[in-house]
Amino acid sequence: MNGAVFLAVYQRDLRLAWRRRTEALLPVAFFLVAASLFPLGVGPDPQVLKLIAPGVVWVCALLAAMLSMPPLYAADHADGSLEQLLLAPGAGVAVAAAKAAAHWTISGAPLVAAAPLLGLLLGLPAEELPVLFVSLLLGTPILSLLGGVGAALTLGLRSAGMLIVLIVLPLAIPALIFGAGAAAAVDAGQSPSPHLSLLGALLIACLLGAPPATAAALRIAVE
């Protein structure tokens, strides 16, 4: 992996996001709006809300991450800079990793920060909030990494948005199960650490596997 390329792409993406701040805040706004629809949909019963809160927060985070994926490579692909980026030796993996890292910093981290607030809104007990926070902290990078594969595979396609959701969500199911399961385990009086350990293992696997897969998909898209 090319460290200089990684840093350059990462910093550039952050700078671009900083110059379009409203756009960068859209995922977290979606996250809050979508999650607040659930009490309206299922009713305000605190018992029910407390039960479904971890799952609701996790599913909304999953959807927010997927919906913010299509623009990740789109602009660079459209103006040709992606092809130039991929020319440097060993750059594919570096670009993929930097893009995923930038996506997490811009849209994943705000989700993690907003999650305890949503947990409170949904009546989650105080002892479950840190677990939900940690599970999202471990889980949202997985979503950014897997979403990167989907974004690269669907680069430049007409229906890229829906396609990313369709092809990445099945792959993200383990993260959802262990992430939402961690908080639910606390609710059931169990330790959340097995869930969090498995989530950490998934994160390591995705860190190793997703950037090369994304790089391969990018090469297919620009060749």
């Binding site: 594969v149 595979l153 669907t154 396609l157 007409r158 229906s159 396609l163 369709l166 092809i167 969500l169 099945p170 792959l171 199911i173 383990p174 199960i177 262990f178 399961g181 639910a184 385990a185 498995l198 998934l202 696997a205 596997g209 897969a213 391969a216 998909a217 297919i220 898209a221 060749e223």
Partner: protein, 276 residues
């Protein structure tokens, strides 16, 4: 398209593909890659497709006869258990075909073989069909025995996710207009998917056991009557043969469409050869 034209050069005589002389000329060079040539594959699949179809029909008739008339009524479940004869083969093939899809995708990726990609694409709809069949028959079976159409049991859930993986592959391949890119992108997705299948499966199993325990288990009898087993095996073979037949026919159509510019394909669809 340029790549297919350059590889076409060594098959310059292929416009005489329908004459027995050409068949004889090709035969001495039978290697592992003989049928990786679209023209050769097209002829082979034209023979194997109908043969597999006939085998499938024969096994299906024998298996259905065994299953519906010879096999005894189950002591616990009564007549309803007979859906096992289609349910189990369908569930089995749904999983095997996904691995086959990923295998041919990987072959296409590493060997850069066009036929392998065509095969992967041809397998996907049949695999999805068997997944739907397994879910559907399982649902029909679950209603009288479990009292519900659906439970979020680990097996049912993982089969449903398998269906999503098939749908994702087919949607991605269909959405990309450029054939070469569609092949490779689909192959990458299939390979990523097959790596994930064990992870998904175990996560679903653990999710299920962590949460609700085994409230419902397969109410299967301990010892199957030998006629039941024979009927199930016959229908499994029928499903295998059907899958082969349909995949050959579909791959043949895909190849003909892709090689539409090549000499052998033109000769094949020329008016003088119609009806062959």
């Amino acid at each position: 398209m340029t790549s297919s034209n350059t590889t076409r050069a060594d098959n310059g005589t292929m416009h005489t593909v329908n004459t027995s002389a050409a068949t004889a000329a090709v035969r001495p060079r039978l290697t592992w890659f003989t049928f990786a040539s679209p023209a050769n594959f097209y002829r082979l699949a034209g023979v194997l497709g109908p043969v597999c179809g006939v085998i499938a029909a024969a096994f299906a008739i024998a298996g259905l006869w065994m299953g519906l008339f010879v096999a005894p009524t189950d002591a616990v479940q009564g007549e309803v258990y007979r859906i096992i004869f289609i349910h189990v083969p369908a569930a089995w093939l749904s999983m095997v075909l996904y691995v086959a899809l990923a295998f041919w995708a990987a072959m296409g990726w590493f060997l850069n073989a066009r036929m392998a990609f065509a095969f992967a694409r041809a397998i996907a709809p049949t695999g999805a069909l068997f997944t739907v069949l397994a879910l559907w028959t399982g649902s029909l079976w679950g209603r009288p025995t479990w009292g519900t159409w659906w439970v979020w049991d680990a097996r049912l859930t993982s089969e449903l996710i398998l269906l999503f993986l098939y749908l994702g592959y087919m949607a991605l391949v269909a959405a990309i207009d450029d054939t070469r890119r569609a092949d490779k992108a689909g192959a990458l997705l299939a390979i990523v998917g097959v790596v994930n299948v064990p992870v998904i499966y175990f996560s679903v199993v653990w999710w299920n056991t962590l949460h609700q325990g085994s409230s419902l288990t397969m109410g299967k009898e301990q010892h199957m009557a030998s006629t039941m087993l024979v009927a199930m095996l016959l229908l499994t073979l029928a499903c295998w043969a059907y899958a082969f037949a349909v995949v050959f026919v579909r791959a043949r159509a895909i190849v003909l469409e892709r090689e539409a510019d090549s000499a052998w394909a033109r000769a094949l669809v020329a008016p003088s050869n119609q009806g062959r």
